[in-house]
Amino acid sequence: MNPYTWRAVVNGAEAELHVQPAERLLTILRDDLGLTGTKVSCELGRCGSCIVHMDGRPVNACLVMAYQCNGASITTIEGLAEGDLHKVQEAFLEEGGFQCGYCTPGMIMSVKALLDETPNPTTDQIKEGLSGNICRCTGYGGILRAVKRCGGNASK
C-alpha cells in the first residue's frame, strides 16, 4: 500500500486515499473515486476538459498533484448543483451550449468560476475567462449565449 495518505473534501464529502504523492488529481477523481464527470483530453493544461474547483478556484485537474491538493476542498461537475440544476447548467440546456458534451463539465466549471468573480461579465471578459477551454463542436456560439443568459452583459 502507498504510504502517502491523501485527504480532501470532494463535493462536500470527506475522502481519504493512499496514493502516490505525485498522482494527478485527474486520475484520483476519475479512476480512484469514479467521478468521471471530469474529463481527460490533453493532459497538459491546454484544453480545460478537466477543470474542477480547488478551494473555490478553477484548476486543471491534470496539472495538480495529490500533494498539492492535500487538505483542499474540491468541487467537480457532479458537486456543482445542490438539488436542481445550477443556473449555468440550465442556461447551457436552454441555449444549446454543448453538442457532444465532452468539454461541457470543464466549460461549466470555468463559467461558474468566471461568474463567481465577475457576475456580469462583458463579452471580452467571457472570452478571457473561457479561453482555456477548448470546445471542438459548438463553435462557442451556444456557450456565449448561455453565459450571457446567466448574467453576461450582451453589449461590449
Binding site: T104, I134, R136, G139
Partner: protein, 766 residues
C-alpha cells in the same frame, strides 16, 4: 435569420441527452469500467518506414500484472482492416509504414504496468527511406509502400475540349493551392471497454460512426461470426469523421479474448495524434479561363492528395474532391484529374467535408482572381456563371434540381456583411486592415453512386407502451436524438415522454447505415415517412376497436389515441399507448429498408442530393503580426426545413469555427514521417477568443415542390466555403493572394517602416 425566436420557439427544445451532459452524469464509452478489468496499451512503431526483423515480447510477458501480450501471431482472422480495402495491418508482421502502425499490445492490471511492459518489448527495425512527399512518391525510383505501388487511386473527369478552349479565352488564371493536414481533435480521444461475455460473445463499447461496419471488420479480424459481436457505439465525445474507421477496437477485442477478462483502452492525446486519421493534405493546380464578358470557358484541375500509409476512405475522398473541383458553375470545357498517393505521413481519411473543403478552396480562389481580371465584382461574376437548377451535376450526372444555390447567392448579396465590402469603416491604426470576402458551394450528401448506402429504420409500439424508433446511428454531438425526437413528436403529436429512441447498439437496432456524409437526417425523414402512417393506422385501428369509436374520428396525440374534438365536445382520450400495448399483447413493429437516393447515372461517387451554401466574412488583418481576426460571418445554407433549429445553428457555428482553424491555424506538421505537433499545445484549435462577434445564419428552408427527401444534412456544409471567403477578404484588405492554408502569417506582415511611409503618403506630407 435562424435564431432562437418566435418562429422557432415550438421547435426549440432542450436536447434529450442534455441533462446528463451538463451534470457530468453521462457515461461516455471511455468512462466505463468494470471491477477487475485490465488496461490495454498499444505499442506503435518507432519508425515511419522500416522492415520489422524481430519482435521480442518475453520480458514484457514476465512483468507481474501482465495478463496478455499480443502480436500479429495472435490475430486469428484477417490481420488487416480498412472500411473499403482492408490493407492496414492490425499488428504488423514484417513492415511498418507510419509511426502509428501497431506492433504489439499489452493488457495488465494497471495502466502503468501495461506501459512498463510495452517499454520492454524489443523490436528490430531495418529502416527504409521515408517517402514523405506525394509527388516524390510518384517517381519510379521511390520506395513502394504497397505491392501495387504508391498510387491508391486515380480519378478523371472530362467534358468538352479544354486544351483547345483555353486558346480562345480572354483571361486565364493559373494557381496552385495547398491545404493542411487538419486533425479532427475531437475532445474525447479514442477508446472503450471490451467485454468477453459468459456466453462466448464479445461486447465492444467503443465509438464509431458505423456500428455494423465495425462488427463486420472485427468479425473478420477475430475469425468469429458477426452475430457473436455486439457493438455499442454511442454516445461519443466528438468524431467529425475521425472515428469512422477502426482505431483501438481490434486491440481491445484481441486482448480481451486472449485474457478472458474485460479490457479498457483509452488513447492519450499523443497516441491519438500519432495513430489517428487526419484530413488529406492536397496540392491542387488549377487553370481556368474566361471570355471577354467574364463567362467561364475552360477549367482544368490536377489534385494530388497525400493519403498516408493506408487506404481507409482515401479513394472516395478523392472522388469527392474531383466532383467538387469545378464548383457550382456552368463551364463548357472541363478536365479534372486526381491522384491519391501513399506516403509515410500518418493516415489521411474521412473528415467533415470529405475532400470538398480542399477543392472548394481552390476553385473559389480561382473565381476570385478571374473576377478581378475581368474587372467584375466577384459576386456578380459568380452570378453570371452560376449553374441553372436543371443543369447536369458536376460530373455530368443528373441531380435533383433545386433553387437553393441562387437563394444562397442572393442571401450573401443582400447581407449586411457583404455590403461592407464597399462601405469600409476607417481603420483605427495604420497597420490594421479590413476586408470582406465571400464564397459559394454545393456539397453532396450520401455516399454517392456505386457505393452501398443502405438506409432504413424501425418504428414500434413497445410492450411498455412507448413509441420507439430505432436506427443504427450514433450520437456524437450532432443531435440526432433531438432531431428524431422532434420528428416523432411532430408526426404523432405526442410528448417526449411517449418516446423511446434507440441508436448505436447492433443488438438492438436494424442496419440503417452509417452516421456519415450528412445522410442521417434524410434517412430518418424517409424512413419515418414510410413507417409513421403504418404504425399510426394500426394504433388507431386498435383504439377504435377498444373504444368503439370510428377510426376517422381518432388521432394520435400525447399519451395515446384521442377522439378528435367536434362541435359540442373537446378532444378526449380513447386509449393510452400503454393500454394499446397491453391489448395488442406484445410489440407492434414496422421496419423499412431502402437505399440513400443516388443519381440514376452510373458515375461512381456521383451525388444526387446537394446542399448549397454560401458565406461572407469580414476580417481584420494586423500587418504587424500577420494575425487575421474575423469580425463578422454570414452563413447561408439551403438544406430544407430546419427540423431542429438549436442543432442546426450549432452545426453551422461549429463547422464554421472548425473551418476557421483549417484556414488560419491548424496543421499537424510532420518532419521525416514524425509528427511535430503532438498535442493541443502546438496544434492550434480555435478558442472562444477567435469567434467573430457578429454571426448570422440564413437557413433557406424551401424545398422543391413535392420533394420526398425532406431535410438535408447540415453537418458538413458549414465547413466547406469559409476558407476561400477569408482568402477573398485578405485580398480585399491587404492586396495579397492566399494560396496556402493555414494562411502563413509571415506572408501578411509588412514592415513597420513601409507602413509608416504609407501613412505619411496618405496624409499628404511631402
Amino acid at each position: 435569420m435562424l435564431t432562437r425566436g418566435e418562429r422557432t420557439s415550438h421547435k426549440w427544445r432542450r436536447r434529450p441527452d442534455g441533462p446528463d451532459k451538463v451534470t457530468g452524469a453521462l457515461r461516455y464509452l471511455t468512462d466505463m469500467s468494470l471491477p477487475g478489468m485490465l488496461h490495454g496499451k498499444v505499442l506503435r512503431s518507432a519508425e515511419p518506414h522500416a522492415f520489422v526483423l524481430d519482435i521480442r515480447t518475453a520480458k514484457a510477458e514476465r512483468v507481474p500484472g501482465v495478463a496478455a501480450v499480443i502480436t500479429h501471431l495472435d490475430v486469428p482472422g484477417l490481420n488487416r482492416f480498412g472500411i473499403v480495402n482492408p490493407d492496414q495491418p492490425v499488428l504488423c508482421e514484417d513492415r511498418v509504414r507510419y509511426v502509428g502502425d501497431a506492433i504489439a499490445a499489452v493488457a495488465a492490471d494497471t495502466k502503468e504496468t501495461a506501459e512498463y511492459a510495452l517499454s520492454l518489448i524489443e523490436v528490430d527495425y531495418e529502416p527504409i527511406p521515408v517517402v514523405d512527399d506525394p509527388e516524390l512518391a510518384l517517381l519510379p525510383e521511390s520506395p513502394k509502400l504497397h505491392e501495387g505501388g504508391n498510387v491508391l487511386h486515380r480519378t478523371s473527369y472530362r467534358k468538352g475540349e479544354p486544351e483547345d478552349a483555353f486558346a480562345g479565352c480572354t483571361h486565364i488564371v493559373e494557381g496552385t493551392y495547398y491545404t493542411p493536414r487538419q486533425m479532427h481533435a475531437y475532445m474525447e480521444t479514442e477508446g472503450g471497454l471490451f467485454v468477453p461475455e459468459a456466453d462466448g460473445r464479445l461486447t465492444v463499447y467503443a465509438a464509431t460512426q458505423h456500428g455494423y461496419k465495425d462488427r463486420m471488420q472485427l468479425s473478420r479480424i477475430l475469425g468469429i461470426p458477426e452475430e457473436a459481436i455486439r457493438i455499442v457505439s454511442s454516445p461519443i465525445g466528438g468524431s467529425f469523421g475521425g472515428k469512422d474507421e477502426l482505431n483501438v477496437q481490434p486491440y481491445g477485442a484481441l486482448l480481451a479474448r486472449k485474457a478472458g477478462i474485460p479490457v479498457k483502452l483509452h488513447n492519450s492525446r499523443r497516441e491519438s495524434v500519432r495513430a489517428g486519421l487526419k484530413r488529406h493534405p492536397m496540392k491542387i493546380v488549377m487553370k481556368t479561363g474566361i471570355d471577354g464578358e467574364g463567362r467561364l470557358i475552360a477549367h482544368e484541375a490536377r489534385i494530388t492528395a497525400d493519403t498516408g500509409a493506408y487506404s481507409t476512405l482515401g479513394a472516395p475522398v478523392l472522388n469527392f474532391a474531383t466532383e467538387h473541383a469545378s464548383g457550382p458553375y456552368r463551364i463548357p470545357h472541363v478536365s479534372i484529374e486526381g491522384v491519391s498517393v501513399f506516403t509515410n505521413n500518418g493516415v489521411s481519411g474521412e473528415f467533415r467535408g470529405f475532400g470538398g473543403n480542399q477543392a472548394i478552396f481552390a476553385v473559389e480562389s480561382q473565381m476570385n482572381r478571374l473576377a478581378e481580371l475581368a474587372g467584375m465584382d466577384p459576386w456578380e461574376f459568380r452570378r453570371l456563371n452560376l449553374r441553372e437548377p436543371d443543369d447536369p451535376g458536376p460530373l455530368g450526372q443528373r441531380i435533383l434540381p433545386s433553387a437553393g444555390l441562387l437563394k444562397a447567392w442572393q442571401s450573401i448579396a443582400d447581407s449586411e456583411v457583404w455590403s461592407r465590402r464597399t462601405r469600409k469603416p476607417t481603420e483605427s491604426e495604420p497597420w490594421i486592415k479590413r476586408g470582406v470576402g465571400a464564397a459559394l458551394a454545393m456539397h453532396g450528401s450520401g455516399l454517392g453512386y456505386g457505393i452501398p448506402d443502405p438506409g432504413g429504420g424501425r418504428l414500434s409500439l413497445t410492450k411498455e407502451g412507448k413509441l420507439e424508433a430505432a436506427f443504427s446511428f450514433e450520437e456524437f454531438g450532432q443531435g440526432i436524438t433531438a432531431t428524431l425526437e422532434l420528428m416523432l413528436m411532430e408526426r404523432f403529436g405526442c410528448g417526449a415522454d411517449d418516446l423511446s429512441i434507440v441508436i448505436g447498439d447492433t443488438d438492438r437496432v436494424p442496419h440503417t447505415g452509417s452516421s456519415t456524409a450528412s445522410r442521417s437526417t434524410t434517412i430518418a425523414h424517409i424512413a419515418l415517412s414510410k413507417l409513421h402512417p403504418q404504425l399510426s393506422e394500426r394504433l388507431i385501428a386498435g383504439a377504435s376497436a377498444m373504444a368503439g369509436v370510428a377510426a376517422e374520428r381518432l388521432m394520435t396525440g400525447p399519451g395515446g389515441i384521442w377522439i378528435k374534438p367536434d362541435d359540442d365536445s373537446g378532444s378526449s382520450l380513447a386509449a393510452t399507448y400503454k393500454e394499446l400495448a397491453e391489448t395488442l399483447g406484445g410489440e407492434l413493429a414496422f421496419e423499412t429498408k431502402f437505399d440513400f437516393p443516388v443519381t440514376p447515372d452510373p458515375i461512381v461517387g456521383g451525388h444526387y442530393l446537394y446542399t448549397c451554401a454560401a458565406v461572407a466574412v469580414e476580417a481584420e488583418i494586423n500587418t504587424l503580426t500577420g494575425a487575421v481576426r474575423l469580425l463578422a460571418k454570414h452563413h447561408a445554407v439551403a438544406a430544407g426545413p430546419a427540423v431542429n433549429p438549436m442543432g442546426y445553428i450549432g452545426q453551422i457555428e461549429g463547422a464554421s469555427v472548425m473551418a476557421q482553424g483549417f484556414t488560419l491555424t491548424e496543421d499537424a506538421l510532420m518532419l521525416d514521417g514524425h509528427y511535430k505537433t503532438e498535442n493541443l499545445d502546438n496544434y492550434i484549435v480555435p478558442t472562444i477568443r477567435d469567434v467573430a462577434d457578429d454571426f448570422t445564419l440564413h437557413a433557406i428552408e424551401e424545398l422543391p415542390e413535392g420533394d420526398p427527401y425532406g431535410p438535408r444534412g447540415i453537418g458538413e456544409v458549414g465547413s466547406v466555403a469559409l476558407a476561400p471567403a477569408i482568402a477573398m477578404a485578405v485580398r480585399d484588405a491587404v492586396g495579397k493572394w492566399v494560396n496556402r492554408l493555414p494562411i502563413p502569417r509571415e506572408e501578411l506582415i509588412e514592415s513597420f517602416a513601409s507602413q509608416l511611409a504609407g501613412k505619411t503618403e496618405g496624409a499628404g506630407a511631402t
